[in-house]
Symmetry: C2
Amino acid sequence: MLDNIRIIMINTFHPGNIGAAARALKNMGLSQLWLVDPREFPHEEADSRAAGAKDLLDSAVVVNSVEEAIADCQLVIGTSARQRSFDQPLLDAEQAAGLMVDEARGGTVGILFGRETMGLTNEEMMLCHRHLFIDANEDYPVLNIAQAIQLVCYELRRASKNTSALPEPAPYPRQQEMVLFFEHLEKVLRRTGFIIPQHEGRVMDKLRRYFNRTRPEKAELGMLRGILTSVEEVLAREVDNNKS
Amino acid sequence: MLDNIRIIMINTFHPGNIGAAARALKNMGLSQLWLVDPREFPHEEADSRAAGAKDLLDSAVVVNSVEEAIADCQLVIGTSARQRSFDQPLLDAEQAAGLMVDEARGGTVGILFGRETMGLTNEEMMLCHRHLFIDANEDYPVLNIAQAIQLVCYELRRASKNTSALPEPAPYPRQQEMVLFFEHLEKVLRRTGFIIPQHEGRVMDKLRRYFNRTRPEKAELGMLRGILTSVEEVLAREVDNNKS
């Protein structure tokens, strides 16, 4: 179950933090470390700080974009050191861990950790279904990234020990399917005139936020795409009628 | 309340770990960092890893012995990466944090973290009232020391937010008073013949373990010392009688 949980580090600056994170994962029984465009990796400082978790460094998956890292995740959590506007519901580490462990029974889940200097970008936060906020001292709430990862892995381990007889997890679509849906949705909404080029505003952002918050299950997403297809058929008939 | 909790690092080898620990404390709202005979401190690596918690490094108390660090603590917790023989009751991080926060309302509490290579010695573990074991991967249970401190501080913060209307905490004696009691006890037991030089065994260790586990309150300790004094009076009378 913990093997279905992907810890994703984006643009990490200090290789030492990558090594410390690998150790943090292994100490808590996790194994899936993904690195999006790390500044320096592999690196002897990462090896040194990983100590007995060198194997996790060796098996870490290095990709160029966040989208690649989350394409087959059904749940994506974004970590934030602060509350931000335009947010998804905020969970603390314990709540987020419970959700992740529950869904890891049925699919892959990922959690994003950002840059040492600035965390995650707004765009990256909007890819997420839920945001995690580690309660900390208001005077100094910014944890070292490997420390934040340690706390999350600790809570994931705790949550995995607490799994009672839960009902079958709901089948959620993977991120890649949602990406295709959003593309399909945007295409149709431009054709229906709901999105007007000169007044686009943040319509798609708001719709993405809505769907990420409410999280259609696989079957529900199928229905939504069917709806879009039926609208496209109406649009096609309109075009045909205009021709004739 | 969190200001009554002392994080004590013994013989730390890497100054970077001291800096990371300072940051971990401040991120969670703690402030009392004590260093027993650190190998290198102050050090720029500590400053670097402390980031915005440099003030905690500046105010850290450096002492030469564990005894100095815990003399005015009423509760001392020892951290262990493994179960050991001759142990006090083992608590997990959440349980230990609850106990520490509760007693921090009435006095100073301390928690010992050992060397990167070997943790705490058996002697140091025996100074403790309770042992803390962070549940971890059996294949690799040894956390980096600053990471372990981060987890403990995280649980301390959580526990401090959960304090409901608790009854007045029991008044416990400080460690220094227990040290004097054990000296008094040993002196009397040698005089009564309970401890025989040729067969000392681990009598005092077992007695220390007993009293650390059962934790006499101040008033109870007063009674125990009164008992010892009354025994000394009997012994004194015996000496007088033998003279006459």
